[in-house]
Symmetry: C2
Subunit: 748 residues, 2 copies
């Protein structure tokens, strides 16, 4: 690939980005797209609008960039919780590392590469990209030490940055835990695999066991039921509710045709709660008499009087048979993945193995399209396969387009299939929490992406060839050293096309936008759609960011030209994702920073792979000094990883007793415990419409405002209509949507 | 190798065994060898003797075999604790499995192998051993299904047996835990990495932390001191004590020249305790004022009021910084490895990595002598290297001796170097208990043995060739399939020579016997040596037994002739080790059955290796049906392993809360707790001669009789001579040493 082809690709991509971002800044001002671009504001009832015409609406403006740039980390933390901050921290870390890498590579490695052979250089645009890569260095050259030094600089600075990030994120996690004073999670233990007794119900067994062995700490418990007829009844009722609501919204809209005040999906009519009273009310009471006919599972939530007692019950081995009385700290109420709780505990290990095998198989079968994509980068092969394309491909710009852009686009399209598949694997695995499921899916997508984008592409698309490389262990460095530099220019274009384009797509929200357009202009449905806010897709975005970090680490020494494009990508990502967190996504559950260890481990892995590649390249270039110095770097990196695992690992697995005891004490001093106990009784509702409505509509019930989102037990007495608290009803104000150019109104 | 050579080898080995066992049965009757063969009885004061002449003493008798056979498991459990029972269970499991394997292989596989080729058979003695192995089967033969069926039978029966053994041993472990009511272990937590504060001592920090966070459970604590001047002073004092004691014993003996009553190393003079009073007495008091000048370590034993409280403190993450306040359940007092407690906790992870690397390096360097040994099995090479041997080696019996016996002997001699090296690696690793150190050494020796005896021999002695095999992963089955059957006859002779001979050596106790002989007949020292009982060398014997199991699993299908020799080995081992446990070794500490998981995992590993080899062989013999059926067997075995890990693994890592709470309750009902608290204060003594004397002399202080071996606190007041309890003083009786033929007397 020539430098000019690269410039073409850069030009095309910058053009596309500018067009799409401008389009976004226009589209977001259209009132009809408000559900697409301002999910968070709708969910928090900060925003209603009227369709008045205004010229400003059709002029692109960069105000959203300014807004995203100005928002501080504290604001993000308050707004969307720890996970989004951790996500932004991953991007910031990448920016920092690749700034250092860019300086080192562009000023040290690039000149060395360029003057590596004693040839007369052509004009830069017509130079091959290989001239800028490590392939231009002569064998046995002394200048390879420059690469070794650059590798040292990059890896050492990455380790230092990683350490301080880990330290600061573990502190933030601590603050997150201590800040969530009223979070029922820490009082609750999920008990599974309760032994069956012919004489008594599971509930009775649980009560006896915990009053016997945890008398001082035990408060009460709540059984988990198999989702059977009651569940079906409730879901039918919900469907009916939705239908009726939609009609009522339409009626509502017709009344106020001029200004269309949409009252949102709550409080609009009081008839439904009373219809469902007989079911939901009883559910709200701990004992659930009505459900006695329903089948109990061998699982229960057990509530404890103090956080420390719950922690102790959750961490200790309860029974001499480890397959019964399995305990875990319960997830937060909104985070519970109910349908998995009824899975027998004894099945879990086999399910885990099964999904592992299935996910690996999926990873391997997926290679067919990737092979196709890879073959497209070779023009000759394409011309042979489709002779009629010969004339077309002879045109220069077409060949540049094909080699520089098309392959990546096809790859991206296929990649969209992966996250939902991995998500369903993770659900099958038996995760008890939705955040756990997402985290597990994130890991699977990450392995998948790195394997399929990096390793398979490096070994030019053949699964067997790639697997063979890993089967002959001692040849790995040499094989990598040969294959990776040859593919470095592909990864360069991948960053350009896939990276930048994915950000444009992310900000445009193509799928919801299309749905919205079809709904409005083709189906001609004028009413507001049944609105469901999106939660941040960590399982697709974390792997994507980490993949580009991985490509950066592995390629920056070999092809230093990649660094400026990567830096641009991360800058853009920082702005785009911040904007999305501010406007679109709403966290429905928190993992408490659990994504950082994934990012940390991936970065270490990327560094080690980069070092192994460097070892291979130095070996091939016959530079014993450089390869000799690379080995201690690998050892050092692995030791650093082990140290971090020892130092920080446990913090992300368990909560320190010290911290929980302090929280318990504070509660006792404030006299908040009684209030907490009352709340605990209704915190976990398996069969309530209200619980569902609460999560889907109030949405923003991250752990920081769980106080608000719990259903009031006082008003939940039979015969009295239920009230849902926790829906933010801020006073009327013009909010920070100034750049919309339309007057904004809140619905109160 | 011919069948007749094998018979020669069998003959030689049986002869040697018979001679050595007869010699043993004579030697053990000699009063001068009593310290060599009856360590346990001396330690428990059951046995003193006089040298009267008797003809019976010089006639070999099998009475020890009868005695060993008749002893039941319950007796062994009562006498020597759980570990020795688990050890015997490993042998019994091997006997059971290889009985099934022997029947299957001799009646199914052996005939199939023998009639595998359509050749006329020679007379059996002059047949090559290859005729009996799988190499005799034709390619593409239908009879390979017989091997596949045999493999299924062996693996399935092994899995069933393993499951029930694991179940029964985990039950025994439970009984062991609940039986040790007065064991201070469960009340004590070892805290390491106490954060340093400039204002107060470590002791004060510990007190504050635990009174603050574990107020309800905390009882007291005891600091650990760096072994400095006080330690030196005490060891000097001990040397002096030993010297003086030896003199006093000699004086004693001279008095009773005719009958020589040896009073043993206790109570012989009361002067030493009073000399040491000022040091030891104060140590026995919790606060250790005198040692304030000595440097405190950042480690302490913290005592709790209940076992449950201690367990909770030990399992929970104490601090938000996982590198400080690291807690573990303390080992039993006699099991504490004091010198490792002062290692800074932050060093541990790097020490572990360091010893891992060192042990691996040792494993690889060790290969040189093994290569030499292996080359000796090839007569031609030996003749080339040493031309002068040509004439000698041409003689038939010499060549048979060399090929069948010599290599193994040399290997064994080299192998004696390994356990002490691995033991010192395990000590460096930072293990807090002596049993933990032994367990870790056991694992290292096991890896070492399997690697060096099996894998390196299979690939004929070249480390690089062997490593290469593992580096090219996908060729492993084929390489194994080719190499292992070729070496099967070597392993057959290895079982014969190394296996049977090692048992003879074990029963003869060659090293202590030689020392004793030198002492008595060359140095002419008549007095009793300073006696130290041996503790059972699990770290050498468990790997040995497991190695032969490993060889059995991997070779029984390929060379069915190995099974009868293995069975004979295990039968002999059962008798020999039972005898040694009854007479020689004394458990000074217990791991509570921790050796079983090692045995379980090794057996699973052996089965998987056997299956992979079978897969390779079936592949080479072009039998797709047999290799097709082997794959589900591998998957099944791995799933079984995972299930066992889930089902039994946690029991051997943690103690169930349920169990400890029940024990606490029982104590409370009996009112034993106050007594326990008193004992706790003096249970862990870092700087006392008495503690040392207690372990080395009373010896048999396994956890079952810890009640006796604790120093009485009432009598430990200053000015009063100390009394050591816990030395068994049974009434006079003729004990079970009838076959000695001499009247036995106890010293009271």
């Amino acid at each position: 690939m020539e430098f000019s082809a690269l410039l073409t690709s850069v030009g095309i991509n910058i053009g596309i980005c500018v067009v799409l971002f401008s389009l976004y800044s226009i589209l977001r001002k259209q009132p009809s797209n408000i559900t697409v671009y301002f999910g968070r504001k709708i969910a928090s009832r900060k925003l209603k609008h009227c369709e008045t015409f205004c010229f400003d609406r059709f002029v692109p403006s960069p105000s959203w960039i300014v807004k995203a740039w100005e928002t501080t980390e504290e604001e993000i933390l308050a707004l969307d919780g720890l996970d989004s901050v951790v996500f932004l921290r991953i991007i910031i870390f990448s920016i920092r590392v690749f700034s250092i890498a860019a300086i080192t590579c562009l000023f040290l490695v690039l000149p060395v590469n360029y003057y590596g052979q004693e040839t007369t250089h052509k004009l830069i645009p017509s130079e091959s990209l290989d001239v800028f890569s490590i392939e231009n260095i002569k064998e046995n050259s002394k200048w390879l030490c420059a690469h070794c030094i650059a590798l040292y600089v990059i890896c050492c600075s990455a380790c230092v940055l990683l350490y301080f990030e880990y330290l600061s994120i573990s502190r933030m996690r601590l603050i997150y835990i201590t800040g969530a004073q009223m979070n029922p999670t820490y009082f609750t233990v999920l008990v599974r695999s309760i032994p069956w007794s012919p004489d008594e119900s599971y509930s009775e067994t649980v009560r006896k066991f915990f009053t016997n062995y945890h008398e001082s700490g035990y408060l009460s418990h709540q059984m988990i039921y198999r989702s059977g007829t009651v569940q079906k009844l409730l879901s039918d009722a919900e469907k009916m509710y939705n239908m009726m609501k939609e009609n009522s919204v339409e009626m509502h809209c017709q009344k106020f045709k001029g200004g269309c005040f949409c009252a949102g999906p709550t409080n609009s009519f009081a008839i439904l709660p009373s219809v469902n009273d007989s079911v939901t009310d009883k559910n709200l009471y701990g004992d659930m008499d009505m459900l006695a006919g329903e089948k109990e599972c061998s699982a229960a939530f057990v509530f404890f009087k103090t956080r420390y007692a719950a922690l102790m019950a959750a961490t200790a081995l309860q029974s001499a048979n480890p397959m019964s009385w399995a305990t875990d700290l319960a997830p937060a109420p909104h985070d519970v993945y109910w349908s998995n709780l009824s899975i027998p505990y004894r099945q879990l290990w086999i399910r885990k193995i099964g999904t592992l095998v299935a996910a690996t198989a999926f990873m391997l079968v997926f290679l067919l399209p990737v092979t196709l994509v890879q073959s497209m980068t070779q023009l000759e092969q394409l011309q042979q396969a489709f002779p009629f394309l010969k004339g077309l491909l002879k045109k220069k710009y077409m060949s540049e387009l094909v080699t520089g852009y098309l392959p990546s686009v096809i790859l991206i399209l296929f990649m969209y299939l992966v996250p939902p598949t991995m998500m369903s694997f993770s659900a099958l695995e038996g995760s008890i929490s939705r955040s756990g499921r997402k985290r597990s899916a994130c890991l699977k997508v990450l392995y998948f992406t790195i394997w399929n984008v990096f390793f398979v592409n490096v070994f030019t698309g053949s699964i067997l060839r790639t697997l063979n490389v890993f089967f002959s262990v001692k040849d790995i460095p040499a094989t990598f050293g040969k294959a990776v530099p040859a593919q470095a220019s592909f990864f360069l274009t991948y960053v350009l096309s896939s990276g930048w384009a994915s950000l444009s797509c992310e900000v445009m929200q193509l799928f919801p936008l299309t749905c919205n357009l079809i709904r409005r202009w083709i189906l001609r449905i004028k009413s507001e759609p049944l609105f469901e806010t999106l939660s941040f897709p960590y399982h697709t975005e974390v792997p994507r960011i980490l993949l580009f970090g991985f490509l950066g680490f592995t390629c920056c020494i070999l092809a230093p030209l990649i660094t400026p494009f990567l830096l641009f990508y991360f800058f853009l990502a920082y702005l785009v994702y911040k904007n999305q967190i501010l406007n679109v996504y709403v966290s429905k559950y928190e993992s408490g920073g659990q994504f950082w260890p994934i990012a940390h481990n991936t970065t270490i892995f990327a560094m080690v792979v980069a070092q192994i590649i460097a070892l291979g390249v130095f070996g091939l270039k016959e530079s014993p000094v450089a390869s000799g110095f690379t080995i201690p770097l690998i050892i050092g990196t692995l030791l650093f990883h082990e140290y971090c695992r020892q130092r920080f690992g446990p913090i992300f697995k368990n909560t320190a007793a010290e911290v929980l005891i302090e929280m318990d004490r504070k509660d006792e001093q404030c006299g908040r415990l009684e209030e907490m106990y009352k709340k605990l009784r209704t915190a976990y509702c398996q069969f309530t419409l209200l619980a569902k409505r609460d999560t889907s509509t109030s949405g923003c019930s991250s752990n920081h405002n769980n106080e608000n989102s719990i259903i009031d037990t006082e008003s939940a007495k039979p015969g009295k209509p239920l009230e849902v608290h926790g829906l933010w009803n801020p006073p009327f104000h013009l909010d920070d949507m100034g750049d919309l150019g339309v007057p904004t109104l809140t619905n109160k």
